[in-house]
């Protein structure tokens, strides 16, 4: 039951942060959701096998595929988080004007 519960609390916390105002909370919310999905992926491989998957591992060896998925996902989340942080920087410098005032094709 531990895996689902970890997913649950991470999702709840992440969603709560997403729905609050503020850039930084948005970023952190997505970081938490990213963690939640990683735990979910790991659980999808089966949490009853907990030996590192190396060559010649025993019957307890974990499924290596979800781990590869998680690694990929972590790195993508990292990249996007870094990009979101840029928004944080921009958002701070100038607030967003409502889109209606915008006018204009490419310069």
């Amino acid at each position: 039951m531990s895996g689902p519960l970890i997913v649950g609390v991470l999702v709840a916390a992440g969603v709560f942060l997403l729905l609050r105002p503020g850039q930084l909370r948005l970023v952190l919310g997505f970081v938490l959701l990213g963690h939640a999905v990683n735990v979910l992926l790991l659980a999808a491989g089966g949490l009853h096998r907990r030996e590192p998957p190396v060559d010649g591992g025993g019957p307890e060896s974990a499924d290596p595929l979800p781990q590869a998925f998680i690694l990929t996902a972590i790195v993508i989340t990292f990249g996007i988080t870094v990009y979101l942080l840029r928004l944080l920087r921009r958002g701070a410098r100038r607030g967003s004007r409502p889109p209606e005032t915008w006018d204009g094709g490419p310069r």
């Binding site: 997403l18 997505f30 999808a44 967003s96 004007r97 915008w102 490419p106």
Partner: protein
Amino acid sequence: MVPVVGPLLAAAVLLTLPDRLVLRRVVALLATAAVIAVGVVLLVATSDGAVPVLRVGGWPPVVTITLAADPLSALLVTVSAMVVLACLVAAAGTGDDCQRAFLPLTMVLSAGAYGAYLTTDLFNLFVLVEVMLVPSYVLLALSGGPGRAGAGRVYIATSLLGSTILLAGVGLLYGVTGTVGLADLAGTAREVPAAAAAGGVVLLAFALKGALVPLHDWLPRAYPVASPVVVALFSGLLTKVGLYAIIRIYAVLYGGDPAYHPLLVAVALASMVIGVLGAIGVGSMRKVLAFHMVSQIGYVLLGLALFTAASLAAAIFYLAQYVLVKAALFLCAAVVGATRGTDRLSRLGGLAASSPLLALAFGVAALSLAGLPPFGGFLAKFLVLRAANEVGDWLVLTVAVLVSLVTLLSMLKIWGVAFWGEVPRAARERTARPGLALLGPPLALGACALLLGPLGGPLLQVADDAAAGLLEPAGYVRAVSGR
């Protein structure tokens, strides 16, 4: 393989090239032209029911990622590449590509989209969707005007949430079935309820990415802020991948399970109606067009929802023609933006007199969008209506007809104000004449829309083949799984 690697290679080469704009443009155009050529080759290769596959790395099918092309994938790759090509030319006209990052990003974005059409592995699909979306974040921020920060935030936040849900769905599917390969998953959602639930999460994610009602409002919020060329690119590729994924997953994973038809029909009709109503309620060309995307996506989904040979062919035909037509319309907006400096209807007027060629391109595309003959859109609408009538669904038929009329109304609204209206005083001073690079792409796409009417036979043939493949995915599954 070329569709994925070619543009990526081009992106890499573009990053190394010096600031010689002409050279950079040529590289990007050549890469895209190569993709079109490959797309056509694939179309020919798949026309006899063959499904060419590529097992990346040459490993056995169970453990590696398999790319496969059936008529649907081949068609979408070809059509998308045509849109990319048009956008590249138009970008040269508007000067969008003077941004150093524009061309490499476009290449990466398109590579992600082509890959998404070809991959048969759901996790790989997630990765490729990210490859496609991340450049779009940057492009939106690069090309947008004021207000892009807010729109960009909404856009990134929603699509990031979509990606998170998608990944969770893929994880759950793996948890239930132990595989993420589409071919191995074929029909499981029909047999295993748990797989259907997990697949539902995936479909939900793509519904968000494909901007289906009620998950649509991010699209008209975010897209109109980007420059019209970029929106044309987005409209041709991004939401279409979501739509494609829904079509493919529903057909393969769910085997077109009729239990879900009412839900799909409801979503499709809601998208059609809400999209078109929103379109008549907003006041800039790009916003109108963005809302129309929601509506048109509904039409395509409708074809999927009915899930007969006729309706699937209708959906695919609709999808292909609408991608071209929508790009033509956005590129018209780009011309308007480049010559008048705005695309707000309240500040436009007299375009028909000042640039008749633009009026021609817009007129053809708009009428095609509204489903009037002899343009391709009318055949698409006819096919959808026919499919609806075949299953005897009068509600669907009525809604589809009424929505197409309101579509026409909204197009006439643009036409009446922007093309026929008085030239506003502000515009009298700054009216540039659009060059060939600007006008060419929408005209070429408009010509495609025109020709798809009288010469729609071949496309319909492809759509029929693709529909057959979706209705009976055994061939696709066999080819991909290698069993």
